[in-house]
Amino acid sequence: MSAKHVNPTRMELTRLKKKLATATKGHKLLKDKRDELMRQFLTLVRENKALREKVEAGIREANQHFVLARAGMSQEALNVALMTPKQEVYLEAKTKNVMSVDIPVFEYSTRTPDPNDIYSYGFAFTSADLDGAVKRLADILPDMLRLAECEKSCQLMAAEIEKTRRRVNALEHVVIPETQENIRYITMKLDENERSSQTRLMKVKDMMLEEAHHYSSRYQD
């Protein structure tokens, strides 16, 4: 069944045996990697789902307040109120290596430590709903950043799992059976050669004995 032609030589046999050992070892390692990646991915994706539900609910709530704020204030006043933000968010991105996937780890810091700096406007001319909306967004911000980290990790891990799974399958269903088949073919061929030379030698021996002693003519007498 071997698709490619292999030379039935001892050298080729040794080479194939080495290849089979490497492939088997690689297959085992990759399989372990896939299983571990999958385990971590599943915990992460569950967290991702929970976070996303929370963030989406939080943003929906904030948006409801924004709509109210919009209704209670003029467009200009709203724009002016949010035109010059006092607060800034800085993000520090590191990477963590999980089973050879570099997943991001975010740490954020704000420009000022005062949590009230999210209100970039005077309270005199703005609607109270705006405060509520901004507060709700500020509350959800840590979760939003965690969501970003989590979702990105999930995407990266999903890609890596897919790649690893393909490799495992290729080794399991193509490389290893093909190598085993080739090894069997060479072994059989070599055995066959050996048997054929054995019989040839026996035959030659018979012929030489016949030559020397003339058995056949002697027994005829």
């Binding site: 991915f41 975010f106 500020a138 999930c154 995407q155």
Partner: protein, 106 residues
């Protein structure tokens, strides 16, 4: 030091300005694609984008799915939640596991 951007229609994103995220009010898909590329190369680690806008520039976003940074994250806009963000999570489960085992077909 990285920054955080928020892209989408004006109504959905202006609140984020108060927190110190940078809002980019865009509704045109072509413009959005260009802006996304610009932001991705301009030191933004996280780009939040409204689901409504993301639906129009899907290809641009998919390009960043398997790259390291930035993380492009969908958020619901003022007009409501379209469920696209959850779909993205579901998609990565399907990619990894082969079938959807977390959401059970919800």
């Amino acid at each position: 030091m990285y920054k955080i951007a928020v892209m989408g229609d004006q109504d959905s994103i202006y609140g984020f300005a108060a927190l110190g995220l940078e809002p980019f009010s865009i509704t045109d898909p072509k413009e959005a694609g260009r802006k996304l590329r610009e932001l991705a190369e301009g030191g933004y680690a996280v780009i939040y984008i409204t689901e409504a806008l993301a639906a129009q520039i899907e290809q641009e976003i998919d390009r960043y799915a398997e790259a390291g940074l930035p993380a492009v994250i969908l958020i619901p806009g003022a007009s409501g939640n379209t469920g696209r963000g959850m779909m993205a999570v579901k998609k990565s489960v399907e990619q990894a596991v082969g079938s959807d085992i977390i959401f059970n077909g919800q």
